[in-house]
C-alpha cells in the first residue's frame, strides 16, 4: 500500500505530516514517526484505548473515531484522548438488588441527563447511548444491558456529557446486575458442576490419561460428531 499510494497531509496536534492515503489514523501516526505508549491497545476496535477527535476542512463539526478503525482524510486535524477521568462506584455485586434504586444509589448523577443526545452522536460503536441511559433512569436494567452491550468503554461519551454522567460505568453496572440477578442461571451447568465435584467423570478421565497415543487416535477419528 505504501509503494504506489498517494500521500495526503494531516495535522497531528497541529503539526503537519504527509501520510499514505487510505490508512487508519493509528497506522498513519506510526508512519509519521509516533511510537505509541498510550492511545493504542488492541489495534482492532475492541479495547477503547484510541479515542480520537478531529475536524476536517470546511466543516465546523467536531468528529470522533477510533484511531485503529478510522481512515485518514486529507487536511484533517486530530488529537487523541487516551484518558479521561471518570467517576466509578465500587460495589459488592452479590449483595446488590437489580433495581433502579441500586443504579441511582451508585450513580445519582444519572438522573441529570438533559437529553442532548451528544453521547449517541459521538459513540464510535454507534450505540444508542442516550437511550440506554434513559432506560436506566426508568430502572429497565434489561434494556440498558442489551443496548449497552457492545460498549468498548472508550470514554468518548463521558467526555461530551454536559450532565457529567459516565455512561459506560452505568452500562456495566446494569449488565452485571442483569447477568447475575435477572438472567436465570443455567441449570445444566450447575448440574454438571455437581457431577464433577462428586467425581462422576474421574474414572473415565483417568483411563483416557493413561491411554497410549494410538488408542487415543483411534477413538478420536471414530468419535461421532453432533
Amino acid at each position: 500500500m505504501t509503494g504506489e499510494s498517494t500521500m495526503v497531509s494531516i495535522y497531528i496536534m497541529g503539526k503537519q505530516y504527509e501520510v499514505p492515503d487510505g490508512v487508519t489514523i493509528m497506522k498513519a501516526m506510526e508512519f509519521a514517526g509516533y511510537r505509541f505508549i498510550r492511545g493504542c491497545g488492541c489495534r482492532g476496535g475492541f479495547c477503547g484505548a484510541c479515542g480520537t477527535v478531529y475536524r476536517t476542512p470546511g466543516n465546523f463539526r467536531l468528529k470522533v473515531g477510533l484511531a485503529c478503525a478510522t481512515m485518514v482524510e486529507a487536511g484533517m486535524h486530530l488529537a487523541q484522548i487516551p484518558f479521561y477521568p471518570a467517576n466509578r462506584a465500587a460495589y459488592d455485586l452479590q449483595a446488590l438488588a437489580p433495581t433502579l434504586g441500586t443504579l441511582r444509589q451508585h450513580y445519582p448523577e444519572m438522573t441529570r441527563c438533559l437529553g442532548c443526545n451528544q453521547c449517541t452522536r459521538i459513540c464510535p460503536q454507534g450505540l444508542p447511548v442516550m437511550d440506554y441511559i434513559a432506560a436506566a433512569q426508568c430502572g429497565d436494567l434489561e434494556k440498558t444491558a442489551h443496548q449497552s452491550f457492545d460498549c468498548i468503554m472508550c470514554g468518548l461519551c463521558a467526555s461530551r456529557c454536559p450532565a457529567e454522567i459516565v455512561q459506560y460505568n452505568v452500562g456495566i453496572l446494569a449488565r452485571r446486575l442483569f447477568g447475575r440477578h435477572i438472567a436465570p442461571p443455567a441449570r445444566h451447568l450447575a448440574q454438571r458442576v455437581q457431577d464433577i465435584e462428586a467425581g462422576k467423570f474421574d474414572d473415565e478421565l483417568e483411563r483416557l490419561m493413561r491411554m497410549g497415543r494410538e488408542e487415543l487416535q483411534k477413538r478420536y477419528y471414530a468419535r461421532d460428531i453432533e
Partner: protein
Amino acid sequence: MYTPEMLGLVKTVEQSRERRLKETFPRLTAEEKTNILRSYHPDYMEGSMRPVMVGPNAGDSMPHAHADLLESRSLADVDGLPLDKVDYDVDVLVIGGGGAGTAAALLAAEEGAGVLLATKLRHGDANTMMAEGGIQAADKENDSPAIHYLDAMGGGGFTNIPELVRALVADAPRCIQWLESLGCMFSKDPDGTMNSNHGGGTSRKRMHFAHDYTGAEIMRTLRDEARNRGIRVVEFSPAVELLTDELGQCAGAVLYNLETGQYLIVRAKTAVIATGGSGRLHINDSPTTNHYGATADGLVIAYRAGARLVFLDATQFHPTGVAFPEQIVGQLVTEKVRGLGAQLVNIDGEQFIYPLETRDAVSSAIIRECRERRKGIGVPSGYGVWLDSPMIETIHGKGTIEKELPAMFRQYIRFGINMAELPIIVYPTLHYQNGGILINDKAESGVPNLYVAGEASGGVHGRNRLMGNSLLDIIVFGRRAGKNAAEKAKSVRLGSLTLEHTKRFNEELRQLGLGRRVAPILLPDYRGKISG
C-alpha cells in the same frame, strides 16, 4: 469497498451457493491431515526456524523471532540497578493484566494475599479483550469432560500434556459458573440454557459465547470485579526482569515505568507470569490478530531465571484473517462465522476443505489453494479465498449476522463491505502462541515460587489449540495460579533480592558472542512503516 473485478468474481460465489448449501465437504483422514500440514503449514517451511543457542532449551528449534529474543541481553542495566529500595512489598505479584492475570489476582486476593498486578498497557488492553468466538465447556447432556478431553488431544495432535488437559476439561464448567456468578452476560435462552455452537475440531456444540464479544465481556467483567475488590494495579509498567534470591527462588520483579523511564522494584513471595502471547513478533513476516503488547516478554524473563519452554515451534495461524480491505489486513474473522455455516470457497466457487477442520489444517488448505492450485483471489497484499458469509443469512434467517456477529459486521461495514450480502476475502494470519513456559497442573513453572498462566504457558494445547480452549485455559489456570501462589506465599521465606541469574545469563551470552540485541522489546516499533 470491493473493486469492480472483485464484484465480478462474487457472482461465481453467488451462483454456486445453492448447490453448496446441500454439499458437505468430506473431512480429512488422519493421513491426509498429516500430509497437508507437512506440505503447507508455515511451521514446516524451510528456513523458518533455528535452534536457540543458550539457556534451558539450548538446541531446540523455534522461530527466528523467538530465538532472537532469547539470545538477547537485558534491557535494564542489571549491574547498576540498586535493589535496596523496594517500591512494592507484596505476597503475590501478578505480571500481566489480561484475563489470566486478572483471574489470578482475584483468586489470590480471595485467599487473603496482598496482591499487586503490574501490566504493560492499560488493565485489559490484552488479547483477551479481542476474543470473539467463544469459550468451551462440556456442560450439556450429550457432552462430557471426557469427550472434551478427546477433542482437545486430537486438536493438539496428541502432544498435549495429559494432566493439563484433564485440569482444563474438569475445571471448565466450574469456571463458566464462576463467570456467570460475576454477571458475565453469556448468550442464553430465556430459561437460562446456554447457547452453544461448534468450533473447529469440536465433536459437541460446547462453544459458549456472548454474541461475538466473548473475550471483551469476560475481560471487562473481571476487571470491574478487580476494581470492586480494590486490587492494586500499576499500568504502563511492564516487568523487564524477574528478581531471585540466593536460593534461586523467584522473589519479585523489576518494573519499568514506560512513561517516566523509572525502574520499580517489587519484592514478592510468589509471582504469576500472565503476559500472554507473541503475535507482535510477526513470525514469518505475517500480519497478526494480536494486541499491541503481545511481544513474549514473559518468556524472555522467565527463561533467564531457568524456566523451560515447550512447543514454541508450533505457531497458530488463524485460517481466516482479513485479506481485504487493506486497512485491516491480518485482523481476525472469528471462527464463529464458519461455526454458523459459512463455507470457504475458491475463485471458481468450489469448496476445498471441510470448514471446521482444526485450524492448522484449514490454514494449510487455504495456503495450498492459493499458492499451489492458484485458485485464490488477488488482493493488494497477495491473495485470499472467499468466506461465504451470506450463507449464514440463508441458513439462520435475515439479520443473523448483525445480531450474532455485531463486531464482525462493524469491522467490515466501516470500510463499506456488507458481509451479510457479500462474501469476504480471508487468508491465514498469525494468531496464537501454542507453546510457552512449561507448567504442571498447579500452574507452577520449574522456577521455585514462579507460576505461569494463559497464553504465556505451554503444554495445555500441545501443538495446536482449539478455538474456545484458550479463553478457558486463562480462567482455569489463572484461577489455579492465583490460588496456589497465594497459598504458597504463606510459607515462603525470601533471602535478599538479586539479579544474579540475569548477570550470569548476560555473561554466557557474551562468551558465545551473542546478546547484541536487548529484550524484552515491550512494544513493537512501527515508526516510518505501515504495520501488519
